[in-house]
Symmetry: C2
């Protein structure tokens, strides 16, 4: 795979949960492909330490953006785009605490509400089956433009490899402009634009789909992903 980036817009992305594996990995990919990232954490120092790790990997990368760390609210204030990469436990409270800052921003949720038991991974039931983490964020931060994306991209590959991942990022949302941001950013991960997968409510499917991939990973000892076939990328 060639390292060309389809996106031409340079975004500043705050990564809430930026010290976790998914946030750090996605942030790294965004910065590697020319976007600026502000990793957010409850404690600024922790975010700064991880940002330093990311910055180290950007040295000498042609056209790379920048990485820095900040407390969550400061990270959001510095960005046009906010990636929510936090565990589902505590998600609603965290979004509520940041809702003022999220107003007017594009918020990309990759939050996967999963549960695990003896039978493996499965989706947690939200709002009696009529909700999802992304829809909860949209409800709690009504002045943000919330989209769902990057649910099914496994963290180990994001951080552990340099090549584009052989999979697709499916983006859902009720705002075409909001979806376009995630579609652009997906190119930093896969080398091609994200795939518009429809309305925000379909996050109810993308979020628990990760449980299927986890099951496949266990069975086949691999890191699986999804590709959408039939598209002319």
């Amino acid at each position: 795979m060639t390292e060309t980036t389809a996106s031409t817009t340079r975004y500043t992305v705050a990564v809430i949960g930026g010290t976790g594996p998914q946030g750090k990995g996605l942030g790294y990919r965004f910065a590697r492909h020319g976007h600026d990232i502000v990793l957010g954490s409850r404690a600024a120092e922790k975010a700064e330490a991880v940002a330093a790790e990311v910055s180290e990997r950007l040295v000498g990368v042609d056209g790379a953006g920048t990485a820095r760390g900040a407390a969550n609210a400061d990270a959001i204030a510095a960005a046009d785009v906010v990636l929510l990469a936090v565990p589902y436990d505590g998600h609603d409270e965290l979004v509520a605490s940041l809702a003022d800052g999220l107003a007017g921003k594009t918020v990309i949720s990759c939050v996967n509400p999963l549960a695990f038991d003896k039978r493996g991974a499965h989706g947690r039931v939200i709002d009696d089956g009529e909700g999802s983490a992304a829809e909860s964020a949209a409800r709690i931060a009504p002045e943000a433009t919330v989209v769902g994306a990057f649910h099914n991209v496994a963290a180990p590959g994001l951080w552990g490899e340099e090549e584009f991942l052989d999979e697709d990022v499916i983006v859902v949302g009720d705002s075409a402009e909001g979806k376009q941001v995630a579609i652009d950013l997906a190119a930093s991960v896969t080398g091609r634009p994200g795939v518009d997968g429809g309305k925000l409510r379909l996050a109810r499917v993308l979020e628990p789909f990760t449980a299927v991939l986890i099951s496949i990973n266990r069975k086949y000892k691999t890191h699986s992903g999804i590709r959408v076939t039939g598209l002319d990328h």
Copy 2:
């Protein structure tokens, strides 16, 4: 893609809903690759007419199986494996009416409980988010071995083309033996075994995922499918 079939077991498959596009298309693929199919319908004559159409396409195909039609209960009685390819409306009642015959058989559900409104396709909420069509079938026909598979394979390609489809069939179920049947049969459609996607409850994800593919199809004017990456097929 080459027309080799990975499966060596020859199954007799009753296709309930065998006169609908999904059932007819899957039945045709199974028969084309050496399995025997009995298309089932409420009226035997209708099933026989569609079976004749399928048989016509099997003429001269090396190693093809046979296709015939029958009333649903007779189709089931003649088969080891039953494919449920019926609309979700009326699904539970139909399964209840056939439950005695299904006892002891492997039942593969490809039923997609979808709803459509102005905002597009989306999954219907079953049992407050804790159920799926496949789980309903398992509950209603407790002596059958129910697995879920073939949810995301689009009918037009099944009937309209002869080549293997460039996608994967994900199989879920609580019985390894039951899943193996669907994994084998998947090779008739994709040229490679189906992918074991975990427990039956994950049908809650595979069934509404079809709504995502329908949204993609509308947006990109295509017939999309899923491929699982990271597998060494």
